[in-house]
Symmetry: C2
Subunit: 465 residues, 2 copies
């Protein structure tokens, strides 16, 4: 059967079907640090909706698992080859089909890179708000399949809020269109939202109609501060919400992370920033305000930060703002220079951030592991990081992560704010959403994918035969 | 069987089960002008989640249809008694369980009125953005069940964007919890979004966790104008989008509607407004800007309006802004004073508004019927209205509406922007979303409601046995 599927695909799509070499190795990995034990039968490069439909017809008739893959930048193992699978690569479907200034929307193929769409939109005075901090390398299709988040979500929403409609190929090759080109529309169930975040388990997203926003005018104001400890920074975060200000971004680096960042950047890069006088134990917080009342909002945030004990540096232009933001951007390189990095992704209500930080410190101490943590503090999404040697995440780190997840859920949060369940977190799915929900979700999957060929093993444990 | 269900309910819930009198007559209607031919077996007033669970257990075991009902303000016949049904009234579940300033959210029972939540939020410096223009009388549960829209959606989003999580009772009485208290969260399929807008056909929404926004500070600026014709107003709407301004609201009244409104208000009420010199054939357009750059945005909008041939009046304070908005508010009373009103609800992409207005005028002429039309022009949602005598919508009006729907869909729009499918529009469902989508939706319904007892006849045609 596997051979039959590959033979049929090759005779139909020729060179677009790759059955060996480095490409097969490449699709065993994403950016999660996880490597699949299973090579794919083939990587198929789809160039059109019709290609995807043909692949699904063959996969469906032969019962061959299909793993849809965009740019391969996922962080949960959701788009890597699984046992006996075809990896369906959508990267060549990279056309921006339409940008409408009056309707403030774009129609794109799934493989378009987020940053390419944003750049094209900006040339027309618009922008694409969902930026999962991987704009240059991640695809819109992948962003939608994971309902990607990012730094701007508290103010501008998650990816779902920007998706107006989809075209998706069902397991049997049928093309489904959902949603519309209008802001509003309530005809029937919201299949657009159901497919958004479904991680390739319900259908293959091939095209999206997405909302664009008018470009933000005016200068960006940035406020950065170092706080004596993470509790003080937590008070500042609560203070910003209490002052009813919505900064475009509000990013926090905990003391463990900040030690690595300052070490990595070196003293010269920190001159003129709040970290020029960095002392161990300090926490970094950065707010950026765009649009409208940016200056007044930044002023108010600076007061909140100072009142909470922060050593504040302000910037009233984009260029010096970028320098402050570089501190935040240095987090991942600082960790990656020391080993492999497992990036976790819990989210808790903003009010529970101080508790979560205490829990992380406690878990780190008990498991004797450093957990440098970055947080999108504006929306309560934390990325506790684990640095390790070798190809496999050590069991001790999974045990610590397990405690992290449970703590996040106990605090009213979630085990994945924006990365997705993928392969890495499916064992915790039921713990968060409950058995009733898992059962409904499995049965929704059966409606879309009765033979179970769409990304099996992702999100749900494989069904025991 | 029907008697068995009512007997069991009465023995369990006593006075909360009403089997005769004016209440049974009341639940045969909503605000659509539609009257059900079927009286309910009983109206059951639930006071708690446990009540709802008990009702669903009895309904499930006896195969009795259940129609969930909030405040009964729907406009599509989605919450009126159907053949042999129990109407499950959630109005007594009206507690605001929590408002969190730091997490900027509220937890409410389904029967809480939208305006009551908003008022409570405002006391804490927050507000609830979804306002379907029925704030004072519609319930949050109903708003969510229909994914209600309103005037502010182009800027602040539809109801779905404000729903973080739900508690819902399934057909068999099981309680399902979806979503979270965080802005982000991608664990599993988005059942929160799937239930939002499902019109009581998948589960009974009993509780919601909703997002609140910081109160908008600063003065509201209003720009109103009369245009020589609807085309000129359409150019102005396009011009606002082209200038990349997002007013909080942008409302349009077409010439037919404006004739009724000016007549209804009388000359005295129009002094100081652009309608003081009203001439037949003119179109009214009103924009309101809040927050940040309100003054600059209003200035720019005034220029756009003038360039498109508008006779502009500006207001820089809330009080005179309210006077201008009163013109828009007079639309429904002006029509209701002349007969029964069928309010339609198509939406088209903003760029197709001029075509849609031409089509409405053409349809009106061909069917010899007045179609006064109001539009949320910022999001392309139009409410063509039909005024008629007697209890039943005349066939001629349905025929005209049918053409309206088809035209809206052909222009890339939808047959219901915000009211829902209900009973009134289910015959057009497949035409808009296609047979593939309808089939998937029917099977999703079967997953949630295998016996078909949840609001049967709403959204989908009853299955022929």
């Amino acid at each position: 059967m596997p051979t039959a599927a590959v033979d049929q695909l090759t005779s139909l799509l020729g060179d677009a079907v790759v059955t060996g070499g480095p490409e097969l190795a490449a699709v065993r990995e994403d950016r999660s640090g996880w490597r699949s034990p299973h090579p794919a039968l083939a990587v198929v490069h789809a160039a059109s909706v019709e290609d995807v439909q043909a692949v699904m017809r063959i996969a469906s008739s032969t019962g061959t698992p299909v793993v849809p893959r965009g740019a391969g930048t996922g962080l949960a193992g959701g788009a890597i080859s699984s046992d006996g699978s075809i990896v369906l690569d959508l990267a060549r479907m990279d056309r921006i089909l339409e940008i409408s200034e009056v309707d403030q929307l774009a129609v794109v193929e799934a493989g378009v890179l987020n940053g390419d769409l944003d750049r094209a939109a900006r040339e027309r005075g618009l922008w694409f708000a969902p930026d999962p901090a991987s704009r240059a390398i991640s695809s819109i299709g992948g962003n939608i399949a994971t309902n990607a988040g990012g730094l701007l979500c508290a103010k501008y929403g998650v990816t779902r809020e920007s998706v107006l409609g989809l075209a998706a190929v069902l397991a049997d090759g049928t093309l489904l269109r959902t949603g519309h080109r209008t802001v509003k529309g309530v005809t029937g169930y919201d299949l657009t939202a159901l497919l958004t975040g479904s991680e390739g388990t319900l259908a293959i997203i091939v095209e999206a109609t997405v909302r664009l926003l008018p470009l933000v005018v005016g200068e960006t104001h940035t406020v950065a501060a170092a706080f004596p400890d993470v509790e003080a920074a937590g008070v500042a975060v609560g203070g910003v919400a209490g002052a009813r200000i919505r900064p475009a971004l509000l990013e926090l680096i905990d003391p463990v992370g900040l030690a690595r960042v300052t070490e990595h950047l070196g003293a010269a890069a920190l001159v003129g920033t709040p970290l020029a006088d960095f002392a161990p134990g300090e926490t970094f917080l950065l707010a950026q305000c765009d649009a409208g009342d940016a200056a007044a909002d930044a002023e108010a945030i600076a007061h909140v930060f100072e009142a909470a004990g922060g050593r504040v540096v302000r910037s009233t232009d984009a260029a010096t703002g970028e320098r402050l933001l570089d501190i935040r951007r240095a987090m991942h390189p600082a960790l990656a220079s020391r080993g492999n990095v497992l990036i976790e992704d819990v989210a808790v209500p903003r009010s529970r951030l101080p508790e979560m930080f205490r829990a992380i410190a406690d878990i780190g101490a008990r498991y004797e592991v450093e957990i440098p943590t970055l947080a999108h503090a504006g929306d309560g999404n934390l990325h506790p990081n684990f640095v390790f040697e070798g190809d496999e995440v050590p069991e001790r780190i999974w045990a610590a992560a397990d405690e992290l997840f449970r703590t996040g859920v106990r605090l009213g949060g979630t085990l994945t704010g924006e990365h997705g369940v993928g392969l890495l977190k499916r064992r915790w799915l039921a713990e968060e959403v409950g058995d009733t929900s898992v059962e409904l979700q499995r049965r929704i999957k059966e409606v879309f994918d009765p033979r179970g060929i769409l990304n099996p093993g992702v999100m749900f444990d494989p069904v025991k035969p």
